[in-house]
Symmetry: C2
Subunit: 422 residues, 2 copies
Amino acid sequence: MTKITASIITIGDELLIGQVIDTNSAWMAQELNKIGVWVQHRIAVGDVWEDIWQALDEEALRSDIIFITGGLGPTADDITKPLLCTYFGGTMVMDLPTLEHVTYLFEHVFKRPMPLLDRNKKQAEVPDVCTVLKNERGTAPGMQFEKNGKLFFSLPGVPHEMKGLMSDHIFSLLKERFKLPYIGHSTLLTVGVGESYLADMIQSFEEVLPENVKLAYLPNYGMVRLRLTAHGAERQTVDALLEQQFTALKMLVQEFVAADEDIAMNEIVGRLLKAKGKSVTTAESCTGGYIAHLITALPGASAYFKGSVVSYDNTVKQNVLKVNSNTLEINGAVSEQTVIEMLQGALNLMQTDYGIAVSGIMGPDGGTEEKPVGTVWVAVGNKWHVETKKLHFRFSRERNIELTAINALNLLRLFILKNDTA
Amino acid sequence: MTKITASIITIGDELLIGQVIDTNSAWMAQELNKIGVWVQHRIAVGDVWEDIWQALDEEALRSDIIFITGGLGPTADDITKPLLCTYFGGTMVMDLPTLEHVTYLFEHVFKRPMPLLDRNKKQAEVPDVCTVLKNERGTAPGMQFEKNGKLFFSLPGVPHEMKGLMSDHIFSLLKERFKLPYIGHSTLLTVGVGESYLADMIQSFEEVLPENVKLAYLPNYGMVRLRLTAHGAERQTVDALLEQQFTALKMLVQEFVAADEDIAMNEIVGRLLKAKGKSVTTAESCTGGYIAHLITALPGASAYFKGSVVSYDNTVKQNVLKVNSNTLEINGAVSEQTVIEMLQGALNLMQTDYGIAVSGIMGPDGGTEEKPVGTVWVAVGNKWHVETKKLHFRFSRERNIELTAINALNLLRLFILKNDTA
């Protein structure tokens, strides 16, 4: 069975200049991988004719399928469409179904009071050598080309439009076209142990891994994901092998496992609360609402989340959460006693089963010798028990906020597992 | 003056498989651009010897400077260091200052109870043909190589370590080594107008732009940034030209300008509040704390932000924000009257000058025929005046939350500009 390979070319000066972060490629790679297409190369080029041309030439030599994203907007800095037209030896023509769709979008969806501009109409022009893929979510159509047996797809750079085109057309098209191998992944999320120690714990496991199974270490925010990837012709065989290896791996690192799938900490906690039928609140100082945001980023959070108080200012800690003014005066806002009282205040106010309270110094300013930037107190608990922990981070404000949130959620997870054994 | 060009090679299966998003390249490109180095190519390859080797060969032909990130971790899936050693014709040797540094980090910073593992010590091994760049923030050192007059830098993939190495060593090194051109950027942030209409408004301006000035349209979350980029040998000349063109551009789209620099909406609002000496609160239902998070993501937010109530559940809207139960019963949680009362409740509770309240249906579930997914009510105001707006989005939950937050902040911005003319 031959491996079907893909390259992703992203086009746009904004990527090279770093003004936008490329999230498209990650999504595409992940989804393509699921259907057995191996993305082996990703490349970003500017809005430069020769660079795009060269990238097309090079990637066509390398891969079976070439995805091109970006460079299809209605404005003048885009040169992709004419280039593709020349590259594949076509002539630009107006695609009437696309024009109808663009007109419909402007009139009925965007509800623009202004008339359709020539440059909007131009979006419906395509090379006559392509197959048009209808973009339900926007004005720039997807285009499919073929040259020397290689498949090319040109897609708009707007993430939700690109995703829509992939889901509406391309995945099914690829499955029909190629006899795809099956690629399986299993991911273990570990917390509280470093990459090196994990590696030592599973060294002998790793040494005897079958040839078609790969292990990767993915450290992120104090957690390390261990990912096993296996491939083969038959789904059943691959899955069986993967499960066998995954079970062995899990046994070896058992004590550090937070989840046996690739999910984020907020989802682990959300599922746990849902399974237990319990609710949660947060009282946040230094994280400024970020923990509540993580919880509510998931659909269905209303089943276990009621609300939060962001008590950034001490007056809010006192007036809303009823933290004692003496506590703040004597211990300071970043202290064990303060987070305990914040937690109790939030549990009372929101009437939930569990709560998280955090107070810390995220930086870059506000640190003292006694409480340097990165000092955080966390309390988790219910109305009978509270557990606290002092954390120390040493990073940027953004990363400190993220790490505080992840750690606080993990502490709540451990608390629930220990105290709610029903 | 010759243009100094760079390529960025990111290494790691996790990038190709889409399990992590590459944020490093964007930061590197942005910062390199500031010092006059033009990133013309970015490429991602897997942990495959031949692919990395080929990428080094190809990018060395293309660019003056080649950055390599990732593939330096302590675990077995990393092959980058031995490859670099072979590629540049060296032998692996133990670098004693690095070993000392790694030992110090484990003992004093990570405070690991466990002993230093062989694989940790191995991180201090480097090819004898490289110049070691000390990594203050982690165990994997940066490495500088040279071949056929091209400069190569190998950096760890952990973002804050990579950033540290760039800032501590590489920028100054490049400035000394090359006579760098000056590259200037000016960005205008517009709100409330589409890319196509902007393009039509400034078409004649764009047509006569000097050859060394480029214009880019960067649409994002209902805003469009217009970026002018100019380059030349002399900073003064470039800046003068850029300013002249930028002023002309600003005049043409004046009515839609939210900021004349590349900053995010939360920063615009934060600066405005700071300048006016006023404070703000938020009462958030559907955004679940995300607006508060955006406000507090900025250092110094305590000057104008006191706190927020996330009132996800109706009981919290009633009990904490004192929304009338009749209001909720008759109008529903997603209604004009509810956000008005949420706003008043938050202003009373938090004692701030201004407030934002939002309630909506973010999806994917919870929509009705009358109030489909994407329906949002926003209220902004102070204790004397309130303005409301009904918004309609049609995207994913994540994007709906983001768009609601950006739009709500923008409404507050407009409200302050209109009502606080002091």
